[in-house]
């Protein structure tokens, strides 16, 4: 059991976008009935068969570190959160499709996480400004997930989708949009076999 390789993935995003529900769904295969604010960091583990059915099949533990965004953004909180950002293999950025500000804040989140994890090539981040080239050379793969797709009224959906397409281009990331409805159950839009698609993009080789 312990001999399986570990993969550490951060799940970042503003407070209330659905990170804990997402992590719970991926790991426990059931819906989180009573979501409450995440204080600090909550970890969950998923056993994943990589390249299932092929000769290179390998089983991994995927640790999803869900870093809570609700304690605030004071510099003391930021420096405490930084302890969670060590040796990260992948980052999932979650934003709420009904709330534009949560998408804009993703730049800040990704810079915070990547700053801590700067590669030896010396990615210099100056005064927090976002720069597309930094993301292009980034060795850590990013996945962009938008939640609460069904809460957007019909006529605004295409506008939201174009906006998020730009966002994922900026991050050089893959993008998935999720549906939530009462009670909070997540279904992917347009993808039937979710297990295989979801984690392929997290393993970079």
């Amino acid at each position: 059991m312990a001999s399986l390789d570990r993969v550490k993935v951060l799940v970042l995003g503003d407070s209330g976008v659905g990170k804990s529900s997402l992590v719970h769904l991926l790991c426990q295969n059931q819906v989180l009935g009573n979501p409450s604010w995440t204080v600090g960091c909550s970890v969950d583990v998923r056993v994943q068969d990589y390249k299932e059915g092929t000769p290179e099949e390998k089983t991994f533990y995927i640790e999803l570190w869900d870093v809570g965004g609700s304690v605030g953004n004071a510099s003391s909180v930021k420096s405490t959160r930084a302890v969670f950002y060590n040796s990260v293999n992948g980052i999932i950025l979650v934003h709420d499709l009904t709330n534009k500000k949560s998408s804009q804040n993703l730049y800040r989140w990704s810079l915070e996480a990547l700053n801590k994890d700067s590669s030896p090539t010396g990615v210099i981040i100056s005064n927090g400004d976002y720069d597309r080239e930094q993301f292009a050379e980034n060795p850590v793969p990013l996945l962009l997930i938008g939640t609460k797709f069904d809460q957007i009224p019909e006529n605004k959906r295409s506008e939201v989708l174009t906006r998020t397409a730009f966002l994922s281009e900026d991050f050089n990331a893959e993008e998935i949009n999720l549906v939530t409805c009462f009670p909070l159950s997540l279904q992917m839009t347009g993808f039937t076999d979710r297990k295989r698609f979801n984690f392929k993009s997290l393993h970079y080789d």
């Binding site: 407070s15 600090g40 960091c41 533990y61 004071a74 405490t80 709330n99």
Partner: protein, 455 residues
């Protein structure tokens, strides 16, 4: 003709205040959320605009700007609008948004919102009973009834906030109270936090692997049907699931521990930053201010106690008293009327500006601390309500700081309220709030180093 000019001036200033409230809402309060209900924004800005207009009218009163009849008219108009907003509009919308958040009542939102509003009105009315705020010559549906109740709530809020603020201000400014935090303390805590996280991860891995194996085994055993098959499958996996629930409990306990460790680390980091800040020039300046404020706080508590014990209410305002003292004791002669107008203008202006600024900053802090994307609308409306009541009662209490000739307009407009009661009530609540803040801060301060040592 002059009435028209005056009204235009008032209207432009109201539009300006409305714009300021709108900007404040967009830039400060709601900078992390997307505004979907413009009603909330409008209501907030309207409350802010009309509250500021009241202050503006006081200033005009002192300066003697605009004609006296138009001033009186605008006072009355403003008062009616503010009361309308504070008692009808804002509570109704609060009820509406609270009800919208509850899933069960979604469909009959309006009905339930009205019910909530009626409950609010009932309690609001009942609030007036234990207080001797009205003289018996008032009817039941007069404006004084409403103002008196609004005044009680507002004065309580003001006293609570100033009591806490008076104690908290020196506590935060002075570095005497800062705990000693070293880098190694923080590193040790962070290491413990990461260790706890690793333990959680390894236990969860066990759970996940066991569940996966059970699932795989369960598929093989699926062929067992019937009563005995069920019993067999239950007993064979019994030990597995017992183990699981034990490990799950351990995980829950560890997660609770990790949350506490996280919060403590945040606390220590914040203290360390404050220590660094206190070594800078600005920090030293604030430290110095802190000593002054602590003396001021002690003096205020002392005065409040004296007022209550000796049952005295100040008859003259500080401006006239100050001028009297200078004229009588120091023998300096100057034109009393001229100076009293200007000095009271400055004094009242300072009071107004600092109270608005202080309130907005406090509101922003509260909002950041407690709001989430679901409840942000409700919280903003509650804050608008508090702000309106606060401003109305500051007008009430400010009457004491103005010389006699300016008090008359406030007395005229607000009606025959028992103003002395409000001052007494303010003193009582201020005393209670200040003493309990001292107690609370003392306990929190004592408890923290012990927690820290025990690690």
């Amino acid at each position: 003709m002059s009435f028209l000019v005056d009204s235009v001036i008032m209207f432009t200033s109201q539009v300006l205040f409305f714009g300021f409230g709108w900007l404040f809402f967009m830039r400060q309060l709601f900078k992390d959320y997307e505004v979907r209900h413009y009603v909330v924004q409008v209501v907030f800005s309207v409350t802010f605009a009309f509250s500021c207009t009241m202050f503006e009218l006081i200033i005009f009163e002192i300066l003697g700007a605009l004609s006296s009849s138009s001033r009186y008219f605008h006072w009355k108009l403003n008062l009616y609008v503010i009361l309308l907003v504070l008692i009808f509009v804002v509570p109704f919308y609060i009820g509406y948004f609270v009800v919208s958040n509850i899933r069960l009542l979604q469909r009959q939102r309006l009905l339930f919102a009205c019910m909530v509003w009626f409950t609010f009105m009932y309690f609001f009315w009942k609030l007036g009973d234990p207080f001797p705020i009205l003289s018996p010559k008032h009817g039941i549906l007069s404006i004084e009834q409403l103002i008196s109740r609004v005044g009680v709530i507002g004065v309580t809020l003001m006293a609570l906030l100033s009591g806490f603020g008076a104690v908290n201000c020196p506590y935060t400014y002075m570095s005497y109270f800062l705990r000693n935090v070293t880098d190694s303390d923080i590193l040790a805590l962070e290491r413990r936090l990461l260790q706890t996280m690793d333990m959680i991860v390894s236990k969860k891995k066990r759970i996940a692997m066991t569940r996966r194996q059970m699932y795989q085994r369960g598929e093989d055993q699926n062929k067992q049907t019937g009563f005995w098959g069920m019993i067999k499958s239950v007993t064979s996996t019994q030990t597995g699931s017992e183990n699981l629930s034990l490990v799950q409990q351990e995980v829950d306990a560890l997660e609770e521990l990790s949350r506490q460790l996280f919060l403590e680390t945040v606390d220590l980091q914040a203290t360390k930053e404050r220590i660094e800040y206190s070594k800078t020039f600005q920090g030293k300046y604030f430290n110095f201010l802190g000593y002054f404020f602590s003396i001021y706080c002690v003096w205020k508590i002392f005065m409040a106690t004296i007022n209550i014990v000796f049952d005295r209410v100040g008859k003259t305002d500080p401006v006239t008293r100050g001028i009297e003292i200078t004229v009588n004791y120091l023998g300096i002669q100057f034109d009393v009327k001229f100076w009293s107008q200007h000095i009271s203008f400055i004094l009242v202006g300072i009071i107004i500006v600092t109270s608005i600024r202080g309130l907005l900053i406090t509101l922003t802090k509260f909002f950041y601390a407690i709001s989430s994307s679901k409840s942000s609308n409700v919280i903003v409306l509650v804050l608008a309500q508090i702000m309106g009541m606060y401003f109305v009662s500051s007008v009430l209490l400010m009457r004491m700081s103005m010389p006699l000739e300016y008090r008359s307009i406030v007395t005229e407009v607000l009606g025959e309220l028992q103003f002395n009661f409000y001052h007494r009530w303010f003193d009582v609540i201020f005393l209670v709030s200040a003493l309990s803040s001292i107690l609370f801060l003392y306990l929190a301060h004592k408890q923290a180093p012990e927690k820290h040592m025990a690690l």
